[in-house]
Amino acid sequence: MPTKLSRRDFVRLCAGSAAAISLSGFLVPFIKEAAAAGGPPVIWIQGGSCTGCSISILNTVHPDIEKVITEVIGLHYHPNLSAGAGSLVIDEMYRVAAENSKKFYLVVEGAVPVADDGAYCIIGERNGHHLTFVQAVKELGSQAAGILNFGTCSAYGGFPATPPNPTECKPVKEIVKNVPIVNVPGCPPHPDWMVGTIAHVVLYNELPELDAFGRPTMFFDKIIHDNCQRRQYFDNAIFAKNFGEPGCMLELGCKGPFAHCDSTTRLWNGGTNWCVKAGGVCIGCTEPQFPAWPIYERLPEMPVAPGITATVDQIGGVLAAAAVVGIGGHLAGNIYTGRIGSKKNQDMKEGDE
């Protein structure tokens, strides 16, 4: 087995047009070899989260989760998988971090509540005192070689940080400075996005190429709308008015036109389905402002090209930020030619009848 896989080939495999449903099992021997040669240990902690990201990574197909945790990485702590409990596992986690300072990777799942000294999330007991999540993120994060934020909550704040943000949740990047951070958003992230990111750091001991929001470009450089299988409906101005109907989902609230990820071609859960294929709307869960927007209301204006700010009452800053990243030029064109029109917010609610 060759011992070197070029980064270019790696990214090609991950972005995977050939292995459309998953990362190729072809990667595993390379990763295993890198891991045997002293691949970095991994510590996984959960804070203001729902455990959905952890459950999602269990759904990885190639390599399967057994391979990931027995052959690819040394998973020294995970709240749902660790055999031990109590101070036994907390002490071990800190010991591994200290012994592998600047060599281990910290996976963070969940937002970081900072209100009232972090009292809203206590993840264990250490030296006879409550260990708050914010304290653990600071202490472990500052020792890590890098931090992998799995899920929109640790990357951007996510659901618990949505206004009025009752527990003052912060993304990890506002808690730990001067440590390389990669954001793998999604609610939850696709297992391939997480495993692919882990594989990259194991193989090359550095973070993959990132976009303006800290996301690996190999998974997040595509717009849902550009590759959607309902795209022809849009081009022909056929819009679903009720759930369960054929048509583009725009009128029912789809955020595909500005959401970044490759679910359209990667599909979910072993290639069975994905959000819009199932007649649902894209809810934009990989974007920094998710879920600040109304899920089933058509956005009053679509985000357009950089520099062109959409007029939006409810979600002002949201679209401006999305517009910075840019969307397919065809959409901007469609807005200006009036194909989509621009309904006022008040009309949206009737749209579903």
């Binding site: 459950i55 199932a278 649902g280």
Partner: protein, 480 residues
């Protein structure tokens, strides 16, 4: 001399739980169940489009998101005065049912089993509590192999959910009035293909493994009894009809209190806060009136979980409750032994098989080409209730809509019942009661305690999800 054992965190559950037990004379004499995290999600829902609730409340929990999406949509259906067409009802059942199968397999093998078998000697399977592992090496090895196989099986169960729900965790298809995914012959075939493999695994490996644990650890038929009261809201409707309690369902709505089966009456539910970090004047409220004002400086309080009671009684919810009140024979024939750690594991496994079998018939009832969703109109003001069963037990969502926006949202979830702290009458919650009297051989390795805790399949993100924190009053819960 009594010794206090603090287990924080309790791992291999969902969320942040600490349990403190006091051991005297080798037995647990006192127990506290302490929920340690909340996110304040109710405030986030307030003022939003009421339909957002189904998508957002399923983010309460990534293990059982479908349960919340379903309960939330039932509450919206109720508020909107609509109900799903038969296809919508059936596909909701398939989405929820296949996640039941996923969740039960995950719970037994990946969350609970390592209390009885030794995993491989690599992290995260080390370090572990040492001591009471009774399987001979070859059987231990076999169970570890089944643990690994179960990882594949639960993944395939999620594929079944995704076939109708779009993706998992956090499906996209359950909406007010039904679902968005439409049935076709290919999806039905792909579903049945996976279902058959799952049924073979459940019947030939999951249930036999539970029985092997039961034969090797028979003392656990007598450990972890609990409150011996059961609450079942009922779930998986088998017919159309606007009245949830009376309509025919796979799991009928029933309660079992003080040794008697009785009809469900949700009017007698209220929530106590004497030992929870909330102001005392917010206690004793009905689900529709819930007000939450946290106060972590409150003397004597020890958890963010409130204490819901049914006519004043603590109630256990979950698979054991469901199997017991519906008269599943294997469970009821156990008599008093049913109220135990092993009773809970066995009931969960049998229920897994029962739900899988039922899905085989629901999927063939789907009518291709017929509607999946009833159109809706958001009323100016309304209120709704959604009662449901999740893998962990009875789940209720309550909403109030004003000016076409969510005004009040409340949910009482399974783990709030099972892991509740003491109530206003100082009655312990079901899990706390289950811990009392348990022999603890080695306080440094309190494996007996965690076996009882995990038999309830706790989900803490669910239990403490909808608090309305008063920014000024949250202070110390003994930090640092």
């Amino acid at each position: 001399m009594a010794q206090t054992i603090m287990i924080d965190p309790v791992t291999r559950i969902e969320g942040h739980l600490a349990v403190e037990v006091e051991v005297d004379g080798g037995k647990v004499v006192n127990a506290k169940s302490m929920g340690m995290m909340f996110r304040g999600l109710e405030l986030i829902l307030k003022g939003r489009d009421p339909r957002d609730a189904a998508q957002l409340t399923q983010r309460i929990c990534g293990v059982c998101p479908v349960t919340h999406a379903t309960a939330s949509s039932l509450a919206l259906d109720n508020a909107f005065g609509i109900e799903p067409p038969p296809n919508g009802r059936l596909i909701r059942n398939l989405i929820l049912g296949s996640n039941f199968v996923q969740s039960h397999i995950l719970h037994f093998f990946h969350l609970a089993a390592l209390d009885y078998v030794k995993g491989p000697d690599i992290p995260p399977f080390t370090p572990r509590y040492e001591g009471d592992y009774r399987f001979p090496a070859d059987v231990n090895q076999q169970v570890v192999a089944t643990y690994l196989k179960a990882l594949q099986m639960r993944r395939k169960a999620h594929e079944m959910t995704a076939l109708w729900g779009g993706k998992m965790p956090h499906q996209q298809a359950i909406v007010p009035g039904g679902v968005s995914e439409v049935p076709d012959s290919q999806k039905i075939a792909e579903f049945l293909f996976r279902l058959q493999e799952l049924q073979t695994f459940i019947n030939n490996e999951y249930i036999p493994t539970v029985k092997a644990v039961a034969e090797t650890y028979p003392d656990y038929w007598n450990i972890g009894r609990g409150c011996m009261n059961f609450l079942v809201y009922g779930g998986f409707p088998l017919e159309e009809g606007m009245d949830h309690v009376s309509k025919k369902k796979l799991f009928p709505s029933k309660v079992y209190v003080n040794g008697q089966l009785a009809d469900l009456d949700i009017e007698v539910i209220n929530e106590a806060v004497k030992y929870s970090w909330y102001e005392d004047d917010t206690g004793g409220t009905k689900p529709t009136e819930a007000v939450v004002k946290p106060n972590t400086a409150k003397k004597g309080a020890y958890s963010f979980i409130k204490a819901p009671r049914y006519n004043g009684a603590p109630m256990e919810v979950g698979p054991l409750a469901r199997m017991y009140v519906m008269g599943e024979e294997t469970v009821t024939q156990l008599g008093e032994k049913a109220f135990s750690v092993l009773g809970r594991h066995l009931a969960r496994a049998l229920e897994c098989s029962m739900v899988a079998k039922a899905m085989g018939s629901w999927v063939t009832e789907l009518e291709i080409g017929q509607p999946v969703c009833t159109p809706h109109k958001i009323p100016d003001s309304a209120q709704g209730v959604g009662l449901n069963e999740g893998p962990r037990g009875a789940l209720g969502h309550w909403n109030r809509i004003e000016h076409q926006r969510t005004a009040i949202y409340n949910a009482i979830v399974p783990t709030t019942w099972n892991l509740s702290p003491r109530d206003d009458n100082d009655q312990m919650g079901p899990m706390e009661q289950a811990l009392i009297g348990t022999p603890v051989a080695d306080p440094d390795n309190p494996v007996e305690v965690v076996r009882i805790i995990r038999s309830f399949d706790p989900c803490l993100a669910c239990a403490i999800h909808l608090m309305t924190p008063d920014q000024q009053t949250i202070s110390r819960c003994q930090i640092g």
